[in-house]
Amino acid sequence: MAKISLIVNGNPVTGNIDPRTLLVQFLRENLRLTGTHVGCDTSQCGACVVHLDGKAVKSCTTLAVMADGHEVKTIEGLAADGAPLHPMQEAFREHHGLQCGFCTPGMIMTAVDLVHRKGHDLSDHVIREELEGNLCRCTGYQNIVVSIAAGAKAMANSDLA
């Protein structure tokens, strides 16, 4: 077993885990943060994307022990419980950026990371290129692209990062 301690959504957490535990398993099964999904488990689909030290990563391809001492943000950490949604979440709701919702946590975490890297004014082309690692089986992507462009703009006037 391995002892780990890290910050998840701003809170210190600890665990005593088998070293082969994936970060996504630790989040879902130990911390019960089930917003992060496992779609493919083969690094392809992006349903499991979280932020590790502020950067989008696939948590199905990261060992929880490797995140020891680091900071993780999941979809649950974007906005406080009961408080208004994060602007990117709100944009997905407003623009029908989801149907079944399975890919949505990964899409939103990828989109927020994209805004951090490339700013608030994103062309459709840039958004589509950046979604290379996120698969959606329902929407055909069109409304996801629309949602991300709108969410990116809305983030410029929001206190939520």
Partner: protein, 268 residues
Amino acid sequence: MYEFKYHRPETVRQAANLLIKNEDAKFVAGGHTLIPVMKQRLAAPPHIIDLSHIQGLDGIEIKGRSLVIGALAKHAEVATSAIVGEAFPALAELAALIGDPAVRHKGTIGGSLANNDPTADYPAAVLAMGATIVTNKRKLKPEEFFQGLFTTALEPDEIITKVAFPLPKKAAYIKFRNQASRYALVGVFVAKRPSDVRVTVTGAGSEGVFRVEAFEQALQKRFSPKALDGLTVPAEGLNSDLHGSAEYRAHLIGVLAKRAVEAANARA
């Protein structure tokens, strides 16, 4: 995934000693090749030695006439580095084509080279530039380092610490992606170096990255896409699979090489 013990060394020396002590151990850097392979149970190392917390192995700097990149530099760091963008834009563009944004936030240049996947991107640039691969033991030239499919000259306890790229006069990398995996179906790197021209190909060779000497000689005389008119690469020995036949790959090499020369020339 099978069970293993996890180690987190702080220095290269500690990491190498851990490997000597624990036979069959494996290093991990970004984990974006090793973890998937372990999940599929194609590898079952009893010990994992995490290199990713060793300080000072992720630098990017110009030293003399070379661009020196630390083994732990992530693809995203190379893609967005102002230093790389200025001195060797073709390499920044190559790094930006690896996988997807999340993969680029984790994968490292050292891991990519140590893995020597026949469809990986970095080997094309390393072979084209004659880059030096520096380890904790020695310095290796690409011709000695790459030894065929997923095989390198690295000894078990040998750690890549950095890669030194001599700077080209002009260069470009054009990649034809496998739409599913995002690796190269074929990728061609063309470099006009101070003394000669090099053309390297990834994705197509059954033994990994290789040079196309006929293209090099033609481009040496005249560095223009026209110089490649009528020249072809034999399909024999190239990869052939459900993604593309050997003939298709051979054809792509010619097309991408011309595009690469054009792109290199378009850079003022």
